[in-house]
């Protein structure tokens, strides 16, 4: 999953630095992720993992770092399984 998120981030994130230079915990907004790019990233993730983000997950915290995105996607996948 980490790989897939990094791939999408490289494609749509529009960051001023290479994705390889960003650690899993680093704050993506401080690294230059714009709100437009973050929405593009969310759309990419919805498509890639076949999930939908409910409003509860659509906040800065869920997308603040690569690790946070992983946690968010895992929580949604788990929710879907349980449902």
């Amino acid at each position: 999953m980490n790989e897939a998120i990094r791939e999408l981030l490289a494609k749509v994130g529009g960051l001023p630095v290479a994705v390889e230079q960003i650690s899993d915990e680093e704050d993506l907004y401080n690294a230059g992720l714009s709100s437009f790019a973050s929405v593009q990233l969310m759309l990419g993730i919805e498509d890639r993992f076949d999930i939908e983000f409910s409003d509860q997950f659509l906040n800065r915290k869920s997308f603040a770092s690569i690790k946070a995105i992983e946690r968010t996607v895992e929580a949604i996948l788990k929710n879907n399984e349980d449902a």
Binding site: E46, F53, N59
Partner: protein
């Protein structure tokens, strides 16, 4: 405190509004600072009401401050806008500065000395995109320095302190911002732009090169991204909408008294303007309901940082701002149709020129185009809440 009758917030605001009304036309024509109204706010101790009681304030809530904006907005929109902007800045300190010693001490001063706070987010080359900065704060031991090409600082020369945004350091990305409080003796303002505008002339929103130096303790201890998302944008859209509502209320009141006077002169005759007054009253009611609903939304979200940071909340507040700024123009235009030439002329009891000119700033004060663009982006991913009550 003023010795006049009654000391509820509303009574204090009403006394300020009476003074603001007396000077509103002069403030507008001269494009001068409404010093009488702002002195009255200080005399009534209205500049510190938002501050917690243990720091010398009255812990006033956003809906109480909104009501005051609306009351003063009915008399002099520029005075109300200054009051609103001061409290929007103060909310950043109250919501995000209480853990910091410097900011606590500063809040005590604001309450005790009735200091007036101004805002410098807009920057040359960036415009109204407040979530990006070009300038960067320079940190040198305990000292911080900042130079900013601040193209619009309302009442910049009259303020006692300026809250100003910048990048968090020389290497920081444009969206990695902080907000710093500089007090009057810590900065200079070199004027770059005047403020000869269509409306909101009394806000004296001139442009300056700001140069300041202070202690690093004066930098607010939370990232500006958090401050903007969790309190500043909501406070701005709520308080602005409240005072814009005040402008519209006064316009409708004028139209209504125009029709009433005509009805008295010609009893039994249906007044042509009466239907327009009814329509305006309908629009005014919708605007009022929208503002009240959004005040409730904010109050309920206030203690839940996840909710405040959610897209749903941001979209709701954006919609309030865009909707309110558009509907006041329609409402005032209706009032103008009712009053006709008596509304179009200055200096009559039904004059509406100042209302209409002031109201035109609402769409531009952070451009609706920009806000709609942000909402449009969020709606690519945000799913609509289809319930009526939820």
């Amino acid at each position: 405190m003023n010795a006049g009758a009654g000391n509820s917030l509303q009574q204090r605001a009403t006394r300020v509004a009476a003074i603001a009304a007396q000077f509103a036309d002069n403030v507008d024509t001269q494009a001068r600072f409404p010093r009488e109204a702002i002195s009255a706010m200080k005399a009534e101790h209205l500049l510190g009401i938002q501050i917690p009681a243990d720091l010398g304030g009255e812990a006033a809530q956003v809906e109480q401050i909104a009501e005051i904006c609306s009351i003063i907005g009915q008399s002099c929109a520029a005075s109300a806008m200054i009051f609103a902007m001061h409290h929007i800045k103060l909310s950043s300190l109250v919501e995000h500065g209480q853990s910091a010693q410097w900011h606590r001490a500063f809040m005590r001063r604001v309450a005790a000395e009735q200091l007036l706070l101004a805002s410098a987010t807009t920057e040359g080359g960036i415009g109204g995109d407040l979530r990006n900065s070009i300038c960067a704060i320079e940190i040198d031991g305990d000292v911080c320095r900042l130079e900013k090409n601040a193209t619009v600082i309302s009442y910049g020369t009259e303020a006692d302190a300026i809250l100003i945004t910048s990048r968090s350091g020389a290497e920081a990305a444009s969206s990695d911002q902080v907000m710093t409080v500089f007090v009057k003796d810590q900065y200079t303002l070199e004027k770059t732009n005047g403020w000869d505008t269509l409306g909101m002339r009394g806000t004296c929103s001139e442009g300056f090169v700001f140069r300041g130096a202070g202690s690093t303790e004066q930098i607010l201890p939370h990232p500006f991204a958090e401050i903007a998302a969790q309190s500043m944008l909501a406070m701005a859209h709520l308080l602005w909408s409240a005072l814009w509502y005040g402008i519209a209320v006064d316009a409708v009141t004028r139209a209504q008294s125009f029709v009433r006077a005509a009805a008295k002169r010609a009893p039994g005759v249906q007044q042509p303007g009466a239907l327009r007054v009814a329509e305006a009253s309908n629009m005014l009611q919708m605007l009022k309901s929208e503002i009240v609903a959004c005040l409730n939304t904010y109050r309920h979200a206030k203690d839940d940082s996840d909710k405040l940071a959610s897209m749903g909340f941001a979209i709701t507040m954006n919609n309030l701002k865009v909707g309110a700024s558009q509907s006041i123009l329609q409402i005032i235009n209706h009032a103008m149709l009712v009053c006709g030439i008596m509304g179009y002329k200055n200096g009559t009891p039904y004059s509406l020129g100042r209302h209409l000119r002031d109201a035109n700033s609402a769409q531009l004060m952070v451009s609706n185009e920009r806000i709609l663009g942000n909402t449009a982006t969020m709606l690519l991913i945000h799913k609509q809440n289809t319930s009526l009550l939820g």
